[in-house]
C-alpha cells in the first residue's frame, strides 16, 4: 500500500493549479486563525467537509480519523480546564466559556488538518516544488521544503516494519509503568533513527549523482499554466478572509464575556 497522502484521481480540485490551491489554503488558514467563536468557525469546517468529496479525500479522512478526532477533542478538554480569558475560571477549574473557547480551538485545529488533507490528497509533492519555484523560491529550497512530505511516508513504512520486528522480539510482553514503556520504545526508535540517518545520507548522494546540484534551469514535468479557473479559485478563496474580517467588524467571531 502507499503511505503517501496523494490520491491519484481526476477531480475538480486535482485539476486546480497548485499555486491557486496554496493561495486558497493560506486564505482559509488566515480566515479561521482570526476567529475564536465556534459558531463563526463552523461554516468554514462545513465548506471543507463539502470540498472533501470533490477532492476524493474519503480514504485519507478514514486513514487519519484518529487524528481528526483526538486532536480537536484534546483541545476542547484542555481549554475547558485551562481557559483564563473573558468569563473563564481559574486554572484546573472547568468553565462554560472555557468549553466554548475549546470548541472553537478544536474546530480551528480540525479545519487546519482538513486543509492539509485536502491539499495533499489533490497535489503531488512534485507539483508543490514546482509551485514554490514559480513563486521565486530557489529550487533547492523548494525541494527541501517538500522533502519532508516525501520522507514522512518512507519513515512511516520503515517504522511499521520495525514495529512488526519489535513486536515479535518482545514476545508480546507489555511494559508496565512510564519508565518501562519509555524503555520499550528504544527498540523502535534506534533502528528507525539509524535507518533514517543512513537513508538521508544515501539520498543526498543519490540526488547529487542524479544532477540535483547542477546549476541552470530545471524542467518541471508537472508544471502547467495558470488559467481562468485557477484565477476564479483565488478570487473565491479571498471570500474566506473577507467574511472572517466582516464578522469581526460586526462584533461576531471573538470570545466575549
Amino acid at each position: 500500500m502507499t503511505s503517501s497522502l496523494y490520491l491519484d484521481r481526476s477531480g475538480p480540485l486535482h485539476a486546480v493549479h497548485p499555486l491557486a490551491k496554496l493561495f486558497a489554503v493560506a486564505a482559509f488558514f488566515l480566515a479561521v486563525f482570526s476567529l475564536e467563536h465556534p459558531l463563526a468557525i463552523v461554516p468554514y469546517v462545513a465548506v471543507l467537509l463539502v470540498a472533501a468529496p470533490l477532492a476524493h479525500a474519503g480514504p485519507n479522512l478514514l486513514r487519519l480519523r484518529g487524528l481528526l478526532v483526538v486532536i480537536p477533542l484534546g483541545a476542547v478538554v484542555v481549554w475547558t480546564f485551562f481557559y483564563r480569558g473573558p468569563g473563564g475560571a481559574g486554572l484546573f477549574q472547568p468553565s462554560r466559556m472555557g468549553f466554548v473557547f475549546g470548541l472553537g480551538m478544536g474546530l480551528k485545529l480540525l479545519s487546519f488538518l482538513l486543509l492539509n488533507v485536502l491539499l495533499l490528497s489533490t497535489t503531488r509533492v512534485e507539483e508543490l516544488t514546482a509551485a514554490f519555484t514559480r513563486l521565486g523560491m530557489p529550487y533547492r529550497v523548494g525541494f527541501a521544503l517538500t522533502l519532508a512530505f516525501r520522507l514522512v511516508p518512507l519513515f512511516v513504512d520503515s517504522t511499521a516494519t520495525v514495529l512488526q520486528a519489535q513486536r515479535l522480539r518482545s514476545l508480546g510482553a507489555e511494559a508496565r509503568g512510564v519508565r518501562a514503556r519509555l524503555r520499550q520504545t528504544v527498540p523502535v526508535i534506534i533502528p528507525v533513527f539509524m535507518g533514517a540517518l543512513r537513508r538521508a545520507d544515501q539520498m543526498a548522494i543519490a540526488l547529487d549523482m542524479r544532477g540535483f546540484s547542477l546549476p541552470g534551469r530545471r524542467t518541471f514535468l508537472l508544471e502547467r499554466s495558470f488559467d481562468a479557473v485557477d484565477a476564479a479559485v483565488v478570487l473565491a478563496a479571498l471570500a474566506a478572509p473577507a467574511t472572517s474580517w466582516a464578522m469581526r467588524a460586526v462584533g461576531f467571531g471573538l470570545m466575549t464575556a
Binding site: M1, T2, S3, S4, Y6, D8, R124, V125, E126, L147, R150, L151, P153, L154, D157, T161, V162, Q164, A165, Q166, R167, L168, R169, S170, L171, G172, A173, V186, P187, V188, I190, P191, M194, G195, R198, R199, D201, Q202, M203, A204, I205, A206, L207, D208, M209, R210, G211, F212, S213, L214, P215, G216, R217, R218, T219, F220, L221, L222
Partner: protein, 572 residues
C-alpha cells in the same frame, strides 16, 4: 548549462583509478590498496570479491562520492573522461555517469514511477517531451512498462530495484555503475536486467557491475577479483570464472559446471549444459541414478499433527490486490521448507501469516492445532521465530550479548537460563567472541547471524527466514546455510524464503513454489526438480548441477552430489 567535463578529452578509458589507495578514518587497513582500474566504452566489467573487499568503495571512488560525500584518505590518481576527478564535483558527472547504489530504496523519492525516472532529466533541463519519451523507454527497458502511474512505495523489492536502474537509464549515461543491482530480483528478473546490460554495452555504454552472483559475471567481458582491498586477479571473465580455487579464496561462489569439472579433474571447460553432457558421456562418466543421502529425507513424524497448517487462506491488501488466493498447506515439525517464486508471488505474505503478523482475509492458519488469530502475537512469536530480510530492522541493543539476551529476558527466564541460552545461540551462530561488540559495527553477514541468534535464543519450534543469503558473499552464505542445516539436523523446523535455486536444491527437504498468490508445487525437492511445466510457469530455473544430473536420469542437489554420483556410477 556549462559542462565542467566538456573541456576534458573524452578519450578511453572513461573512468580510471591509478595506483589508488583509500582508507576510511579509524580503519586499521586501507579498503583499497594499490588498485589500477579502468573502464572503456562498450565494455562490461564485473567486480567481485568477499564482503569488505572494497567493491562498493571502488564504485564510490570512481565517481568521487568518496571522498566528497564519504570522508576518506585517498592517494593515487582518479581520472574521469580524461580529467582529474579531484577538480570536478561528483554531481557534474550526472548525465554522463549513472550509479545505482546497493541501498536502492534510498534512491527513490517520487510519487510515481514516471516522475521517478524523469527526475534526473528534469535536473538537466531537458524538454518535457524528451523526458516523457525517455521515461517511457527506460521503464519499458527494465520490464516496468505500464507502471508509470504506480507509486514506488507499492512496488516489490525487485521492482524497486529495476525502477532505480530505469532512473539512471533515463540519463542516457556513457557509464553505468551498479552495486549489486539484482539482489532482490527473482531469477527471471535477473536475466532481464543482464539482457538489458548487454544491450547497453552493445550500444557503447561502459558498465561496471559489482555482484556476488556468478550469473552477472558471466555476462561481463572482464572480471576483477578484489581481495582485502587489492586486485587478486583480473582478466577475461570466462577464463577466471573457471578457476574454482581462486574464486573460493575470493569469497565468490563458482559456477556449478566448473565445480563439477574441478571435482572430476576434467581438463575441458564445461561452458554449457550441452558441453557438460557431451564431455561427461565422452569420458564415460555417468552419474548413478540413486539419490544422495540427504535428498528428500522424509520429514520426522509430527508430534500430533502439523506444526503449522494453512487452510484455504485468502489475503487481499487495502488496495484490493489479492496476495494469497486459496492457499492450503501443512508443515510438519522438523521439515526444511523453501518458499520460492517470483517477486510478488506471495511468499513473504504467506510467511507473515505463519507468524501472525498478517491475518487472513478468509481461511485460517493453525499453530500446533490452535487458530493463530486466537493467540496473541507474543504467543506465536515464542514458537515461530521470524528473521527479517534486513537484519537492521530487528537489532537495537548496545552489544551482541544484550541483543541475544533480549528475547529470553522478555520470556521472564531466570538469569542463569538467559545466560545459558545466550551462550548456546552465540556458539551456534559463531559469534561467541563478539559478545561486547556493537551490532552496528558488524558486517552484514555477521548481523544476519546475530539476528538469527537473537531469535534462536527464544528457542522457537519454527524458524522462518526471509532471504537469509541476500547481500552476503559466498563464505557468509555458506556460514548461514551451515547454521540452518545444523539447526535442522537438531530437529528444528526451518522455513526459508529464497530466490537462490542452489539454496533450494542443496538445503531444503521440501519446496513450495508460488505464483500469483497460489501454490504451484508443494512437495519434496525431487518433485520440484521434475515439475517442468510449473517451473517454467514460475520462471524458476534449477541449478546447472541438478539440470545436468536430470539429463542422466539422476537427481542431484549440488555439484558435489553430481561428482559423488559419477564416482558411484563409475566409468561406463
Amino acid at each position: 548549462m556549462s559542462d565542467p567535463l566538456a573541456a576534458g578529452v573524452p578519450s578511453d578509458p572513461l573512468l580510471e583509478l591509478r595506483r589508488f589507495r583509500c582508507r576510511y578514518p579509524g580503519a586499521a587497513a586501507p579498503v583499497l590498496d594499490g588498485v589500477d582500474f579502468a573502464v572503456r566504452s562498450g565494455e562490461m566489467v564485473a567486480v567481485m570479491g568477499a564482503s569488505g573487499a572494497g567493491k562498493s568503495t571502488l564504485l564510490k571512488c570512481l565517481t568521487g562520492v568518496v571522498p566528497s560525500f564519504v570522508r576518506a584518505e585517498i592517494a593515487g590518481e582518479r581520472v574521469a573522461f580524461g580529467r582529474d576527478l579531484g577538480t570536478v564535483e561528483p554531481g557534474a558527472l550526472a548525465g554522463r555517469v549513472g550509479i545505482v547504489f546497493q541501498d536502492f530504496e534510498a534512491q527513490l523519492f517520487s510519487t510515481n514511477c514516471a516522475l521517478e525516472v524523469g527526475f534526473a532529466p528534469q535536473q538537466l533541463g531537458l524538454p518535457r517531451e524528451v523526458i516523457a519519451a525517455r521515461s517511457h523507454d527506460a521503464l519499458a527497458r527494465v520490464g516496468l512498462a505500464g507502471f508509470a502511474a504506480r507509486d514506488p512505495a507499492t512496488l516489490s523489492g525487485g521492482e524497486k530495484q529495476r525502477l532505480a536502474i530505469a532512473g539512471i537509464l533515463a540519463l542516457e549515461p556513457q557509464v553505468v555503475l551498479l552495486d549489486e543491482p539484482t539482489t532482490d530480483i527473482d531469477p527471471d528478473g535477473k536475466r532481464a536486467v543482464l539482457d538489458l546490460l548487454r544491450a547497453l554495452r552493445a550500444a557503447g555504454v561502459a558498465i561496471v557491475l559489482v555482484e556476488h552472483e556468478i550469473l552477472a559475471a558471466e555476462a561481463a567481458d572482464r572480471l576483477v577479483l578484489l581481495r582485502d582491498g587489492r586486485i587478486a586477479a583480473q582478466g577475461d571473465a570466462a577464463a577466471l570464472l573457471g578457476d574454482v580455487a581462486l574464486l573460493d579464496a575470493c569469497g565468490v561462489r563458482p559456477r556449478d559446471l566448473d565445480v563439477v569439472r574441478h571435482q572430476l579433474a576434467l581438463s575441458e571447460r564445461l561452458a554449457t549444459l550441452d558441453d557438460a553432457e557431451r564431455i561427461l558421456r565422452a569420458h564415460g562418466l555417468v552419474p548413478a541414478p540413486e539419490a544422495p543421502a540427504r535428498a528428500d529425507a522424509p520429514a520426522p513424524a509430527g508430534r500430533g499433527g502439523p506444526i503449522l497448517a494453512v487452510e484455504n487462506v485468502r489475503f487481499s491488501y487495502e488496495s484490493g490486490r489479492v496476495a494469497l488466493d486459496d492457499v492450503s498447506l501443512a508443515i510438519e515439525e522438523g521439515e526444511y521448507v523453501a518458499l520460492i517464486g517470483q517477486n510478488g508471488s506471495g511468499k513473504t505474505t504467506l510467511a507473515k501469516h505463519l507468524n501472525g503478523l498478517l491475518a487472513p482475509t478468509s481461511g485460517a492458519v493453525y499453530l500446533a492445532g490452535r487458530d493463530v488469530r486466537r493467540l496473541g502475537l507474543g504467543d506465536v512469536a515464542r514458537e515461530v521465530g521470524f528473521v527479517f530480510q534486513d537484519p537492521d530492522h530487528q537489532l537495537f541493543c548496545a552489544s551482541v550479548e544484550e541483543e541475544v539476551a533480549y528475547g529470553p529476558r522478555h520470556l521472564g527466564l531466570p538469569a542463569d537460563e538467559v545466560e545459558a541460552r545466550v551462550a548456546r545461540a552465540l556458539g551456534v551462530c559463531g559469534l561467541e567472541g563478539r559478545r561486547g561488540t556493537d551490532p552496528f559495527v558488524l558486517r552484514k553477514g555477521e548481523r544476519q547471524r546475530l539476528a538469527v541468534a537473537a531469535v534462536l535464543a527464544t528457542e522457537p519450534r519454527v524458524l522462518i527466514l526471509d532471504e537469509p543469503t541476500t547481500g552476503l558473499d559466498y563464505h557468509e552464505q555458506r556460514a548461514i546455510l551451515g547454521l540452518l542445516r545444523e539447526l535442522h539436523d537438531a530437529g528444528r523446523t526451518i522455513v526459508v524464503i529464497t530466490h537462490a535455486p542452489w539454496v533450494v536444491a542443496g538445503h531444503a527437504t521440501r519446496a513450495i513454489l508460488m505464483s500469483r498468490g497460489r501454490v504451484l508445487v508443494d512437495g519434496g525437492v525431487h518433485q520440484l526438480f521434475r515439475a517442468t511445466a510449473a517451473l517454467e510457469r514460475a520462471s524458476f530455473v534449477l541449478p546447472d548441477a541438478t539440470l545436468l544430473g536430470l539429463r542422466f536420469g539422476a537427481t542431484v542437489r549440488s555439484p558435489e552430489d553430481l561428482a559423488a554420483c559419477v564416482q558411484r556410477g563409475g566409468v561406463s
